[in-house]
């Protein structure tokens, strides 16, 4: 029987009512009396010397309040990077300055050159057209390997070349891995591209800056996944505003997928300009601006090699990846191809020796940073593709080859620095075989062939590291932040309570699922619990939502704070019941004395805490409010197995997804409905990457895919119904809820399934195709078949 409420129930989402009635409060819905509007003049060339900017004529146009250029930000800090990677020689990465508005040079299409503040957006836009910008074009570097091959054209003149870092991991394993390749019975090699993507949350970014001269307080309303991180980075590193004079609010946020983690120039600008202009200042991104100013994702070019012994055991893995950083280092960009990627190269397999080399490269393109999965999709894609290719080369069943090499004993210390706490990869594969009806595939292929179509089945596994992250560990790895999470639980006198969480919900349904956890712990109705997030003036210092961390880290903080509440409430109850504290039990919202019929209701205890007439004041303080900060001791390791069945039209190369099955192990589940929805969304983004989406530049650094006319977002008729299961559950061993996180799995696990399926389909027709680079658009598939 499905549960009615609490942990494990598919409680309907409380936030839905406001979203379904148009009552949501997104940042663009915020308008402050007297606000002016901002329009950014952005570079339309990829690389050039900025000689002069003349704003004289533009400044005289109607409605213009003030025009800002890079010169107005002298003495202001640049955009900070939150992660320092150390290269294989022990040297820090190159970290060039990243100005709020361009100075000296422009380095990518979309880089802001000037900002016009005007009474209306239209006036700001008109004035921007009247700004005279004198730029001398320079050759652009777009291709990563070309960017490294010559240092004649450098994105940053002050650097010797375009290399950000050359990272080796684990450097000490390299010689042993190389030796294993020498001794291998079989080596499978694959070169592939992990295509550049644009996250495209449906809500474009918005920033509204406000300043109160009377108190010298700044407020920024912004579309962020982590308002405290923005407050810290912008206050401490860019504008020099102390945190107690800076409030950052991220209200309803219309999707993030990583790209709303980062601190952006527009946020700093609006905060700065609100004081400089002494009035509120608002910027709303258009979609076209989003394409050239939101940090992009992926963009890796990889060569991967897998060594096997004569029994088909994996003996070593070696990869060389070029990772595009774009023109500047976005907030967490350096961590994505390194610590979020190299550490996952073991996947689900007991490969004893692994060596990962990553060269991060500056190019004249939009900065690249974390996008749903961030490093882990790139790791999974190359690994699951090379394993599939190996199976085909060896003539063995791809599932059997995987099973033979599965890690089966836990905890398992990989050769790439992480230790998996739990998992059962055979269980998810068993479940997948059942869900995918593999036995019926031959008949389905025959049906497709009878229609003149090719049919393929692709299978893969994945593992990810979520619940980011143990602060002391990531500190050693270069993070310039802690990655704990916080929660304050404030119980009101009448028994209702408010949880102020540092996690941020922008589609994940925390207001519902977090309340389910507290309701279960206390035994009260979910409706008595309010979840508050997204406002630095309300919630304790929190690190926000990304890396599938909310329930694993934020939820754990909430559990710890609630445990403190329960412990104190038991003391109060023991006083009211005149019983020993150790005999007090909390069940169904009432405290009772074990073995007796004496009890006191939750509401009586909470009332006593705030009206302490009959209360142990000599032992405990009045009130019932507790805060906890939770720092995880390890990552969590969700895993699973995915299967995709495609039909390929041999005449056109068009691929259609006919069936998709996902068997995931997320550990314990709070709200199965929400978890299923998260997987659906992740699958759509992964299938989008595999079949449709591509952020394309021409050789001059012009962005070719800068609107929904050119960038193929997955639409309803591109996707099938998904079969999703998360009944295989190996609970996380080191957090109180036993949860692992589910937000990114679908995007991580699905691209290799699609490509494996298409390769299977093409080979079924006798085509000697071993790989097609994503996205598998009709022209690419057709060319692969006919090339």
């Amino acid at each position: 029987m499905p549960k009615d409420g609490g942990i494990g129930a598919s409680s309907k989402r409380r936030e839905d009512v406001r979203f379904l009635t148009g009552a949501g409060n997104y940042t663009d819905d915020i308008n402050i009396h007297g606000q002016a509007h901002v329009f950014f003049l952005r570079s339309d060339i990829a690389h050039g010397t900025l000689n002069a900017i003349d704003t004289t004529a533009a400044s005289a146009l109607p409605g213009v309040v003030r025009i800002f250029t890079g010169a107005d930000f002298e003495g202001v800090g640049g955009m900070p990077c939150g992660w320092q990677v150390t290269d294989k020689h022990g040297q820090p990465m190159k970290e060039p300055a990243h100005p709020v508005l361009a100075t000296g040079k422009v380095r990518h299409v979309g880089e802001p050159i000037a900002a016009v503040v005007a009474e209306t957006l239209e006036q700001a836009r008109d004035a921007a057209e009247a700004i005279d910008v004198d730029i001398t074009d320079l050759p652009a570097v777009v291709d990563m390997k070309a960017a490294l091959a010559s240092s004649d054209t450098r994105v940053h003149d002050e650097l010797e070349d375009n290399l950000c870092y050359d990272w080796g991991f684990v450097e000490e394993n390299k010689a042993a891995a190389d030796a294993a390749f020498e001794a291998a019975a079989h080596v499978t090699t694959l070169e592939l591209v992990n295509n550049r993507l644009v996250a495209n949350p449906m809500e474009p970014r918005v920033a509204v800056g406000d300043y109160a001269r009377s108190t010298d307080e700044h407020t920024l309303y912004t579309t962020s996944q982590n308002p405290h991180v923005i407050r810290l980075l912008m206050g401490a590193f860019v504008l020099g505003i102390p945190e107690h004079k800076l409030r950052v609010v991220a209200p309803d946020v219309g999707g993030g997928f990583g790209t709303k983690i980062f601190h952006y120039q527009e946020e700093a600008f609006c905060t700065f300009a609100a004081k400089a202009c002494n009035r509120p200042v608002k910027w709303t991104s258009s979609r076209s601006e989003a394409f050239m100013s939101d940090a992009h994702g992926r963009d890796h070019v990889t060569k991967i090699e897998l060594a096997l012994d004569s029994d088909n055991n994996f003996t070593a893995l070696r990869t060389e990846t070029h990772a595009n950083m774009g023109a500047y280092l976005s907030t967490f960009a350096p961590s994505v191809p390194t610590w979020l990627h190299g550490t996952l190269m073991a996947g689900n397999y007991k490969t004893p020796l692994i060596y990962v080399n990553v060269k991060a490269v500056f190019t004249n393109t939009v900065p690249v940073d974390a996008y749903r999965g961030a490093g882990r999709p790139e790791a999974t894609f190359q690994l699951e593709r090379v394993v599939d290719k190996a199976a085909r080369e060896l003539g063995v069943d791809p599932i059997a080859l995987r099973r033979q090499n599965f890690i089966t004993e836990f905890p398992y210390a990989t050769p790439v620095a992480v230790e998996y706490d739990t998992g059962d990869y055979h269980a998810t594969m068993d479940k997948l075989e059942e869900m995918g009806d593999f036995a019926g595939f031959a008949a389905r292929r025959a049906e497709s062939e009878a229609k003149g179509k090719l049919r393929g089945l692709g299978v893969n596994c994945y593992i990810e590291a979520c619940g980011i992250a143990p602060s002391n560990l990531v500190g050693q790895l270069g993070a310039r932040a802690g990655l704990y999470e916080s929660a304050t639980v404030r119980v009101n006198a009448t028994g209702g309570l408010v949880v102020m969480t540092g996690s941020h919900s922008h589609g994940q349904g925390h207001e519902t699922s977090f309340a389910q956890v507290v309701a279960e712990m206390i035994g009260i109705d979910e409706s008595m619990i309010e979840i508050v997030h997204g406002d630095t003036s309300k919630v304790p210092m929190g690190m926000g939502t990304y890396g599938s961390r909310s329930i694993a880290v934020g939820g754990s903080a909430m559990v710890r704070a609630t445990e403190k509440i329960i412990a104190k409430a038991k003391k109060i109850a023991s006083h009211l019941l005149e019983a020993s504290e150790t005999d007090i039990e909390l069940k169904d919202g009432a405290f009772s004395v074990a073995g007796t019929d004496k009890s006191v209701a939750w509401g009586d205890v909470t009332l006593a805490a705030y009206v302490p007439h009959n209360y142990p004041l000599e032992d405990i303080e009045p009130g019932l409010e507790e805060t906890a900060f939770y720092d995880p001791s390890n990552f969590t390791y969700p895993s699973g197995a995915y299967a995709c069945e495609v039909e390929v039209d041999p005449d056109t190369g068009k691929v259609s997804i006919e069936r998709f099955a996902a068997a995931d192990d997320f550990g314990n589940i709070i709200n199965p409905m929400i978890v299923t929805g998260q997987v659906h969304g992740g699958l759509a983004q992964g299938i989008g990457q595999a079949l449709l989406e591509n952020c394309a530049y021409d050789e001059n650094g012009q962005l070719l895919s800068a609107s929904y006319m050119d960038y193929a977002m997955p639409r309803a008729d591109d996707l099938p119904m998904f079969a999703v299961d998360h009944s295989c559950q190996t609970p996380c061993t080191h957090n109180p809820l036993g949860v692992k996180g589910c937000g990114e799995a679908g995007a991580i696990g699905s691209p290799p399934a699609v490509v494996n399926a298409v390769v299977d389909a093409l080979q079924s027709a006798g085509k000697a195709v071993t790989h097609v680079d994503m996205p598998l658009s009709p022209d690419r598939v057709w060319a692969a078949m006919n090339g």
């Binding site: 839905d16 009635t21 997104y26 979609r287 929805g677 983004q685 119904m721």
Partner: protein, 161 residues
Amino acid sequence: MTQVTMTVNGKAASGEVEGRTLLSSFLRDQLKLTGTHVGCDTSQCGACVVHVDGVAVKACTMLAAEADGADVATIEGQANADGSLNVIQQAFQDHHGLQCGFCTPGMVMSAAALLKENPKPSEAEVRDYLEGNICRCTGYHNIVKAIMAASGQDVGAIAAE
């Protein structure tokens, strides 16, 4: 500036607009009906779908002046008279057909238009009709399911919770 007058969600509404003012801007900025969202600038995403004289239109593609005298319905006017969710809205909640909520107003308005034209659409018909509405969160599975459920069809056989 031009004076426009229209009926919005059953109430008279008027305002001064420039010739270039879009219906979406008029609704959001002047009438403060911020449920109609703008998610792109090429009339692709459908977050701004409203009904004008009973027909689904993208409010970012229509000038406010063109809607002069029209009967406009937005997401704010969709709930039942007692404030409860209407059948389509309720189906979206019941079947988890929304996550971040940003595309949702347009999805609900498109769904209403679809069910008016085609009271019992097949899955393929729903997917085809939603071609002009982009959702980045749900993968569409639960949106399609919600719309079919709102049409009174049994969606129990469709996979997952």
